[in-house]
Symmetry: C2
Subunit: 334 residues, 2 copies
């Protein structure tokens, strides 16, 4: 298996939820009053989403979605990125399709003319820059195996998917089809655990998926600890390291840890003087890491570019880069 | 006529185009290549809007509209603001309605269930922080006299309308009805010239409207010079000053000039260290000015609060305030 693209292919094809974010600044009391768990992602139905939106302060809308953010970040770095997802052909669906194409991502986007609306995520940013999310999956939750263009997926050196997809049973089958198409074509697969609560909902299935189908796992320390039901990160790393998988684990201001085959590499974080909104931090770490991974870089160098990309996205509101991330690459030369 | 609200009333009812902005950062070449005039607002049809959007870099969506921004700013200052406008009941229409209500503006918003989509304005912000706008008026352009709730309009101490409305013939009649309802109830009227090209399209009609129906005019220096077809601002001020109207004229980094009844007051600008996006500068100047005007402040003090509110909005992307503008009021105590 190779993690480097053909001259005609893509570096990474990301499979994920096609979501438009509604970003609003709220108080901590707003989070508590609405019985939300700060820092987490909760799934809501349309009525719940509308009710919460009614209480929300003024917002701005911006394309989001975890794997889509990773693809956008990879394209901004100058990588060749693809995205597979599903929207409804409504106003927000057109916004999503516009933004991901405009940043240079090649898409295989199903645009449904009926059924649920395009997914939206209400992102509440508190004064500590933490984000709390409520997602109405809508059309994104109807992604199914038949939406997977196997030839498109197999054109990526790495096929990357988000754990969030597991919440929608048809999307779960789509993800498995994408991973199997990748492996059948001799490509690599990558998976992000997405959210500690998501891990909690699907722990056994995730462990089976990783064991059977995943070459590279992204997680933050809370997700990794949740996966192995331990409190100590080093214990979780020992357990994860026993599997024949590569792991890239982010630890916020403590940087990241990459480990595989008994080796461990600690990567420092990039200091950010003014953390505004942590939305997209993990997604952009994956962008930077995968950019290097698909170019055969050392794990340490991959992690450093991931940290730099994450540092950019947490310095402003929104989960997509506001600069050409390619400017950062010079800072991580070996 | 009184410019102070009843205890039950609103300070200002703004009548304008209900628009969602699509804000994107572009190069100067992008403006030139698309034959746009930097700093201006051009009206486009849906096909032109879609074609330009197709070429646009990734954007963010945020509620806008000139008079609506002024109402939002007034509410953020702690004033009692109303807004009259028209959207289609589509996703962007719901975004507009949400955001203006969430900032505390009372609305009389017609939500059409058929007809053109909610208006959108493609805002291209160039590296010099100047904005160039292409507006598809959509539902906003179908605002008509029958959409005016005269009792609601007359609940404002000042009824404020934007010159942009003049581009849509039905909206023109709506504006006249609103102004007449205001005067019939002993209220004052205010009008912004909006854009030099808009002034050029409707010079004679604007002069007649001002002479017949307007107590307070907002303009920038280019608009005022266009209105009187002169190059010299002082000549324009002399000509405007001969009319029985109060004028508040903004001059970018040179501050503003307020004049009425033979008196002239020069108000300094507020220095801004990092001008990011000038979208909304004039709209927010009007917010600050009207907050003071409806409280019987001196013209100089009104202008100073206008400058402070404008300074906040040009320090970030988007035309609505990102802080509670009420924090600024202490800085303009007499």
């Amino acid at each position: 298996m190779s993690a480097q693209a053909d001259s005609s292919g893509l570096d990474v094809v990301a499979v994920g939820s096609a979501i438009v974010d509604v970003l609003a600044t709220t108080s901590d009391e707003f989070i508590d009053d609405h019985r939300l768990v700060k820092g987490s992602m909760a799934l809501v139905d349309l009525a719940e989403s509308d009710a919460l939106y009614g209480d929300l302060p003024p917002g701005v809308e911006a394309s989001g979605g975890s794997a889509a953010n990773t693809a956008a970040g990879l394209a901004s770095l100058g990588g060749r990125a693809g995205f597979v997802g599903k929207v409804r052909l409504d106003q927000l669906g057109k916004v999503f399709a516009h933004d991901i194409a405009a940043v240079g991502v090649t898409t295989s986007l199903t645009e449904a003319t009926e059924g649920p609306a395009t997914a939206r995520c209400l992102v509440m940013v508190t004064p500590d820059a933490e984000r709390t999310m409520c997602t109405y999956l809508g059309a994104a939750g109807t992604l199914e195996a038949d939406d997977i263009d196997e030839a498109f997926v197999a054109s990526g050196a790495v096929v990357y998917a988000e754990g969030y997809l597991w919440d929608a049973p048809p999307a779960k089958a789509a993800l498995v089809r994408a991973f199997d198409a990748a492996h059948a074509a001799g490509r690599r697969t990558a998976f992000t655990l997405s959210d500690p609560f998501c891990v909690d909902r699907f722990r056994d299935e995730f462990l089976t998926l990783i064991d059977d189908r995943v070459d590279l796992v992204f997680a933050n320390r809370h997700e990794l600890c949740s996966l192995f039901e331990v409190d100590d990160l080093d214990v979780a790393i020992d357990r994860a390291g026993a599997l024949s998988t590569t792991w890239a684990v982010t630890c916020s201001e403590d940087g990241s840890v990459v480990f595989a085959g008994g080796e461990r590499f600690d990567v420092p974080a990039v200091p950010v003087s003014n953390v505004v909104d942590t939305t997209g931090a993990g997604d952009l770490y994956a962008s930077g890491f995968l950019f290097g991974y698909t170019r055969g870089w050392s794990f340490t160098r991959c992690g450093r570019l991931g940290s730099l990309a994450a540092a950019e996205v947490i310095s402003h509101i929104g989960a997509r880069p506001q600069i050409e991330l390619a400017e950062l690459i010079g800072a991580v030369e070996d």
